[in-house]
Structures are given as structure tokens and as C-alpha cells.
Symmetry: C2
DNA sequence: GCTACTACCTTGCGATGCAAGGTACCTTGT
DNA sequence: ACAAGGTACCTTGCATCGCAAGGTAGTAGC
């Protein structure tokens, strides 16, 4: 079938949003990758996988929005914790503005009002 | 620069949304491609180009969500008008539900409330 | 016939979500 | 000791889709 499935529909919606949801979660405090996957999975529609998160975190780190530090775990392998840099915080604010305006634009078109 | 620009940020946001904005516009009545580009350009954040719209319309037509008919124009080359099929109308409703829930999910994460 | 506008469409690139697969640490049970 | 299972990291390859750029053609006015 070439018709879009619900899963694909959501995957497309997530584009460009997950990245900033990760930043938003990190605004509340340091997290490690595996944990972020679980936190996002807990939110309806934002569920994603490690294959998405790790490359994403890597990219954000390269762009200077995140810093990392390895820390041992009580039970399991060591974890790589991520936290926001000043630049990351700014990027989050910028996105926040864009998101609000974008959301309003889509609503306007979808609602069909005038 | 590998850091995301505003333009790229918006382009990613548009993913999976423009498609349904087009359906929403067509719900109000038949339109032709060039006109859709202009209507979307009038909405802040949804501005796009012909390189986006034509392949998109083509895809929606192949998937059976749209039907087309050529019609002469008073001034200029003939236009290909698109209109929703029953399947297209259903797809729009389905998206509507997804969008509302997705929007709420993103808001929840961004607002950081609990 | 030249220019400009309208209107259609295609090609090639870049960005990125994801399934699948791989490595390694740690704990528990046998 | 060893196997099994959970935690945690990461990479590869594919598919999707927005877009800049470029191409074709009808119509109107000079």
C-alpha cells in the first residue's frame, strides 16, 4: 500500500519536534539517552526509539547545544548524561516561539475559519 | 554551519502537516496547484514552493485522496483543478484527530508542567 | 517576435526518523 | 563458571519528503 499509515503519519509529525522535546526535557535536569527514550514513550504520539535518539543527541552535541559526562550506574553499564548549554537554552526558546506561531497557523488552516 | 537555521527548523515542522493543510484547503472547494502555493504563502510559517506542492499533489492523487480535471483559464495556460475524494475527506478527519492529540503532547512536554 | 506572467512538472540534494543489528556491562540463577 | 536477561551505548542502511533550481508551454501586450 502506498497510502500513508497512522504510524508514518505520526513519524512525519515528529520531525523537527522531537529534537526540541529532548531539549525541553533536559531543561528540567540532566538525563541519559535510554532514559529519554522512556520518557518520550510515556507521552502519547512522541514515542520513538534508540535509533532516533542517539544520532539526535550526537548531532545536538556536535552543534554545541548539549554537553555530556559519563557516570557510573548503581546497576548496569555506565551512563552518558546530557545537559543543556547556554546555546541549547537559547535554541529551545527560539523553537518555543516558532512552535506557538506554527501551531496557530496549522489550526487556522485546519479549522477553516476566516 | 551545521547548526539548524530558522528556515530548516520550519521546513522540518512543515513535514507531514502541509499535506493535510492542502487537504483542508481543498475541503473548502476545488483549487489548482499554483493557487495553493499562493494560499499557503499567505499563512505565516506554511509558505512553501512549487517544488513541494506538485509532487505532493501527485502523491495524493496516486493514493486516491484527490481527483483532478483540466480547465481552461481566462488568462493564461489551462489549470489542473484538484478536489477531495471521499477517501480524502476521511484522511483529513483522521489527521485532525492526530493533530489535536499531537499538539497537546508537544505542549505538555514544552510547557514542562506536571 | 520579444518579454513577461501564469501554470505545469522534474531532478538532485539534504535532513532525519526508524528498523535492525551490534557491543558491552551488570546481576541472578544454576 | 557459565548462561540468560536486563540495561545502556552506538551504527548502518533505507525511506520519506521539503526545497532550490531548472525546464516546458500557453497567453497577452508591445
Amino acid at each position: 500500500m502506498s497510502v500513508t499509515t497512522d504510524a508514518q503519519l505520526l513519524a512525519q509529525l515528529r520531525r523537527g519536534v522531537i529534537e526540541h522535546c529532548v531539549l525541553a526535557l533536559l531543561e528540567r535536569g540532566p538525563r541519559y539517552g535510554f532514559d529519554l527514550v522512556r520518557e518520550l514513550a510515556a507521552v502519547e504520539g512522541l514515542g520513538t526509539s534508540e535509533g532516533t535518539i542517539y544520532p539526535l543527541l550526537s548531532r545536538l552535541r556536535k552543534d554545541g547545544l548539549l554537553e555530556t559526562s559519563w557516570q557510573p550506574s548503581d546497576q548496569g553499564p555506565p551512563r552518558r548524561y546530557y545537559e543543556l548549554t547556554a546555546q541549547g537554552r537559547t535554541a529551545l526558546e527560539v523553537f518555543h516561539r516558532h512552535w506557538r506561531s506554527f501551531r496557530a497557523a496549522v489550526d487556522e488552516v485546519l479549522e477553516g475559519d476566516k
